[in-house]
């Protein structure tokens, strides 16, 4: 009984702190906004040039000029601002955004991240991912622990082209929560287990150097 996508998003939402400026990627990260704790006030940044991103519009509120970076229609909030892409990435690259949550194809034990291309297949481009992981203060990855063919995605080294080197601080998978020592060589530390998941299962599905936190919590 591992976590569902919704449970992974809910767990990631616990990393949000009051006053944070946050950039959310596409997929599970987008779901995180549904689980923001009531006593926590965050501001969402969308790298196409919007700060203060509101929920999807009602049918009669749709405005073609208000989209997020996934090209989805969204709404304004009180205090929303718009700006150019250069200003947007000044926020990102300049370290003004507190947290980025995004998906991954592979994460290595030193924090290397691969999430933008698979050689030999059609490549879509990295969008803003390389800027986000290089510039945002804290980077959390939400991803399935193993690929569709059963291979671990938490590795000693990434096999795919990198999006960033030593950039990931934390991984949340369906099996649990993992701290990554991106500055040193401490590797991956399991700090929390998902419902019904055993340490043995995590070990079997992880190819990175793995330690178990002394205060490991079982959800």
């Amino acid at each position: 009984m591992a976590w569902t996508r919704e449970q992974m998003a809910a767990r990631a939402a616990k990393e949000l702190k009051d006053g944070y400026y946050v950039n959310l990627g596409i997929g599970i990260p987008t779901l995180v906004s549904n689980y923001v704790p009531e006593d926590v006030d965050i501001t969402l940044q969308s790298e196409n040039g919007m700060l203060g991103v509101g929920p999807f519009p009602l049918d009669n509120e749709v405005d073609a000029d208000i989209i997020n970076a996934g090209k989805q229609t969204v709404t304004e909030l009180k205090g929303t601002s718009y700006f150019s892409s250069a200003d947007s990435f000044a926020m990102v690259r300049g370290g003004h955004i507190d947290l980025s949550i995004l998906g991954a194809m592979e994460v290595a034990e030193n924090g290397d991240l691969a999430n933008w291309m698979i050689p030999g297949k059609m490549v879509k481009g990295m969008g803003g991912a390389m800027d986000l992981v290089a510039g945002v203060r804290r980077v959390i990855v939400t991803m399935e622990h193993v690929s569709k063919d059963g291979a671990s995605k938490l590795l000693k080294e990434c096999s795919l082209p990198l999006t960033g080197r030593r950039v990931v601080d934390m991984v949340i998978s369906e099996l649990g929560v993992f701290d990554i020592d991106k500055k040193g060589d401490g590797g991956v530390t399991l700090i929390e287990l998902a419902d019904g998941v055993t340490v043995e299962e995590v070990k079997a599905k992880t190819k990175a150097k793995l330690s178990i936190d002394a205060g490991l919590k079982v959800a």
Binding site: S46, E47, N48, G49, M50, P55, F56, P57, L58, D59, V62, D63, A64, D65, I66, I67, A69, G70, K71, Q72, T73, V74, E76, Y82, F83, S84, S85, A86, S88, F89, V92, R93, D112, M122, V123, K124, G125, M126, G127, G128, A129, M130, D131, A134, G135, P161, L162, T163, G164, R165, R166
Partner: protein, 233 residues
């Protein structure tokens, strides 16, 4: 003052186009793209273009129109995932692509337009993007050098403009337009509403008219939406 106002996109492009030119194009997805100028460029039949644009449009819209007409030789973009024509041309070897991280692309255009030939960024360090580029350590952190970009023509879209070329963008349609407007030898702006000089609040102008050489009103606009996402009441 020299007249900057043209009656339509076709006339605004006259004397500007040549095969092999580099086109800087505003917009993110289909939001804020210079739709009328792209269509006029397709109709003009100019070829072997290098297009600098965050995205490559979709099938049947935006730069997708130039791709379908076989007018593009190379794209410099950050994300092209929405375009099947793009995928087909690329896989057939008929199109070159240079991927730039989105923030690096924005800054390359900003820098080019500001007379800055190169800058350092930590984006892409240790990745394929940095291969073959100069790197340097500042304060213990590694950075990669990226070049400023200046094109032959910039095509931008604004909400309101005045007859002296001052521009105001609307909501998230601003995106890449302000940088593109500065980063070419000639900038052509299409606007939803063209007003006499003096009618825009000077404090609210996003792109000052010095950057805009030609301007036209492209109304009416039928704005397309790529991902119409709604919530229930």
């Amino acid at each position: 003052m020299a007249n900057k106002v043209y009656k339509d996109a076709k006339s605004a492009l006259e004397g500007v186009l040549s095969d092999g030119m580099m086109v800087m194009c505003g917009g993110f997805g289909l939001v804020g793209i210079p739709d009328k100028l792209i269509r006029a460029m397709r109709d003009a039949g100019v070829k072997n273009l290098t297009c600098v644009s965050n995205n490559a449009g979709i099938d049947g819209a935006g730069l997708g129109l130039l791709l379908e007409a076989g007018q593009v030789k190379k794209m410099i973009s950050s994300y092209v995932g929405e375009n099947k024509t793009f995928a087909k041309l690329y896989l057939e070897g008929k199109l070159e692509i240079e991927f730039n991280p989105q923030g690096t692309l924005a800054e390359r255009c900003r820098a080019g337009g500001a007379g800055i030939p190169a800058f350092y960024t930590k984006t892409g360090v240790g990745t394929e993007v940095a291969k073959g580029k100069e790197t340097k350590i500042f304060d213990g952190q590694e950075y990669v050098m990226e070049r400023g970009l200046v094109g032959d023509v910039a095509l931008v879209k604004a909400w309101k403009g005045d007859t002296s070329g001052n521009l105001v963008y609307r909501k998230a349609a601003r995106n890449f337009n302000p940088m593109m407007a500065t980063a070419a030898r000639i900038c052509i702006a299409e606007v939803e509403e063209l007003v006499p000089v003096g009618q825009l609040d000077p404090d609210h102008i996003h792109t000052p008219g010095i950057f805009v050489n030609r301007i036209l009103c492209g109304a009416p606009y039928d704005k397309q939406i790529e991902q119409r996402t709604i919530r229930k009441a």
